[in-house]
Amino acid sequence: MTQTIDAQTVKHVASLVRLGISDEEAEKFSPQFSAIIEYFNMLNEVDTSEVPPASDITNNANVLREDVVMPSMSREEFLKNAPKVAGGHVKAPTVLGDE
């Protein structure tokens, strides 16, 4: 399965990860992506029909704690890095609307 990732696909994927991209960049990335994905196709050589996907690297399961309030960062500390602040909150423009 030869996979060519054309500039259109690059732009589509860029929008999935909310990454602004120019036409030139999409053209530049297209052959690089195609080569890399082509390289990944080597995994098709491996028979994994009876193999489960890896999970649980540390054999820990359901690590829980008591639902007790613990000290955490103060509002002031948290807002120190916020680009825009208003009324003790992080200020952002419209979230809902056209995609």
């Binding site: 990860v17 992506f33 995994l43 994994t48 489960p52 996907p53 890896a54 820990n60 120190k80 423009p93």
Partner: protein
């Protein structure tokens, strides 16, 4: 008094005997850093004031004798991916160029509690994405052994600072070789501990199922010292092991006679630099002289390590870097933005370098509808086979031996035009992280005047054995004692 290029043991001794104070030691290293680091550029941020403040507190502890540890008063450098309260933490990216964490990573806190002195934050490939430090958004770090060559990556700054005597030890992080590969290129010792042995709380995540923080030091003994203090269960990181941390120094001097050393046959094929191969073969002979049994083992899926690693890395990194969105912290570009998505698009376009963009896009591609099964799921299945390979091999022997890289440090700019070529230099270090196994890198000689690194790979949570086997080698060789002369 020679203060540069000492081991932690030696420095601790000087501090304990009051031959020097932590403030004097810190001042000496800062002075050297200001004089010499212009050529190497290992540091992104040198925090002189913070360092001297911490050194003063360390001296008070040393004077009173209370809560003194082998790390008290020792200056160290930290890879710029690990959060340090009040000290800029950038991941060598424009998107975090002015970000100052309001909390300490667990590792930072543990080192502070032990009395170590933070000197500053070191350069890296942006967000850990790279093998040469050339993907830093700020500047290239040079290899102190040859300033026209790379120090390796992504913990290139931490390795270079350690190598050039610009810290007593450094803390790096290894997701797919990022401690071991630069350790090998710069002639220092470094460990990628078992995944889950050291808390990732406060580490700016690259690939959450691979990331492993590890120390870089002058020798194996020191490496064990530092790991002793940063390892252990952390309630803030649910992937850390509950099991207690072994006392690494208790067994480090035990003879290795009768232990079994495994040579993975798939790793010793054509393509290795001749001097690298001969150094590793010489190391194997050393171990034979020390009484180890040498066995050939097989890692049948070795060649799939690279695609498994990179595919899963792209996918996990894509997820992790979604938080760099210009909304709550970091670079935020909002001029002309009509809604929040505009801020995301512009901020991420300006704030991320090309390699970061490549990886997050490819990660999304591998996870997207129609491709998830063929790429992400497939890679996770082959990952199971990689883990089984290590389990099977390590059931037959105590540790495996391998080079850290097929070559010694390459030239700046040599591999930057082809991303795939850069990925291939990781061939020996990428399989361990998907499997979660620990690996210790240490100096094994020189080839064409550049350091050769070897690594010892062990079973889960078997760091004590790695240290024992590594230390045994350093008792009969002196590669690790060599330091570069910093030339113009």
């Amino acid at each position: 008094m020679e203060l540069i290029n000492l081991t932690l043991q030696q420095t601790s001794q000087l501090l304990a005997e009051k031959k020097i104070s932590s403030v004097e030691l810190t001042q000496a290293i800062l002075k050297r850093a200001h004089e010499v680091d212009g050529k190497i550029q290992s540091y992104v941020t040198l925090a002189d004031d913070v360092a001297l403040e911490q050194a003063k507190r360390a001296d008070a502890r040393l004077a009173s004798g209370e809560a003194v540890t082998p790390l008290t008063g020792i200056p160290f450098a930290m890879k710029d991916a690990i959060s340090t309260r009040g000290v800029r933490t950038t991941c060598s990216s424009k998107i975090l160029e002015n970000y100052v964490p309001q909390y300490n990573a667990t590792v930072t806190q543990r080192l502070a509690d032990a009395g170590a002195v933070l000197l500053g934050k070191t350069n890296m490939d942006e967000f850990g994405m790279g093998s040469s430090c050339e993907n830093s958004a700020f500047f290239n770090t040079k290899n102190p052994w040859d300033l026209t060559r790379v120090p390796g990556g992504s913990s290139g700054g931490a390795a270079a600072a350690m190598s050039a005597g610009l810290c007593g030890f450094s803390i790096g992080e290894d997701t797919g070789g990022s401690v071991r590969m630069p350790a090998g290129f710069c002639n220092v010792t470094g460990i990628k501990p078992t995944y889950g042995r050291v808390s990732r709380y406060g580490l700016i995540a690259l690939a959450s199922s691979f990331d492993s923080i590890g120390p870089m030091t002058r020798d194996v003994y020191d490496c064990a010292t530092v790991l002793q203090y940063i390892a252990g269960h952390d309630p803030k990181d649910a992937t850390t092991y509950q099991s207690p941390v072994a006392n690494y120094h208790a067994t480090i001097d035990q003879p290795v006679k009768g232990m079994k050393l495994g040579i993975p046959k798939e790793y010793f094929v054509a393509g290795m630099e001749a001097g690298v191969e001969s150094s590793i073969q010489e190391a194997i002979r050393q171990y034979e002289k020390l009484g180890m049994e040498i066995h050939e083992v097989s890692l049948p899926h070795a060649k799939y390590g690279l695609p498994v690693y990179y595919l899963l890395l792209f996918a996990e990194a894509s997820s992790n870097l979604a938080r760099m969105d210009g909304a709550r912290f970091g670079l935020s570009i909002s001029e002309g933005a009509e809604n929040i998505v505009d801020i995301y698009l512009k901020t991420r376009h300006e704030g991320f370098g090309d390699e970061v963009k490549r990886r997050i896009m490819l990660g999304a591609y591998a996870l997207s509808a129609g491709y998830y099964d063929a790429y992400y799921l497939k890679a996770q299945k082959v990952r199971t086979l990689l883990r089984r390979d290590f389990e099977n091999a390590l059931a037959q022997v105590d540790v495996l031996i391998a080079p850290t890289c097929p070559t010694t440090a390459f030239k700046l700019g040599e591999k930057t035009s082809d991303p795939l070529e850069m990925y291939l230099s990781d061939i020996y270090v990428v399989s361990t992280n998907p499997a979660g196994v620990p690996a210790l890198a240490l100096p094994a000689g020189f080839s064409k005047n550049m350091p050769v690194g070897m690594q010892l790979i062990g079973k889960h949570l078997d760091e004590a054995k790695l240290f024992q086997v590594g230390h045994a080698y350093q008792q009969v060789t002196d590669w690790h004692k060599k330091s570069p002369e910093i030339r113009d």
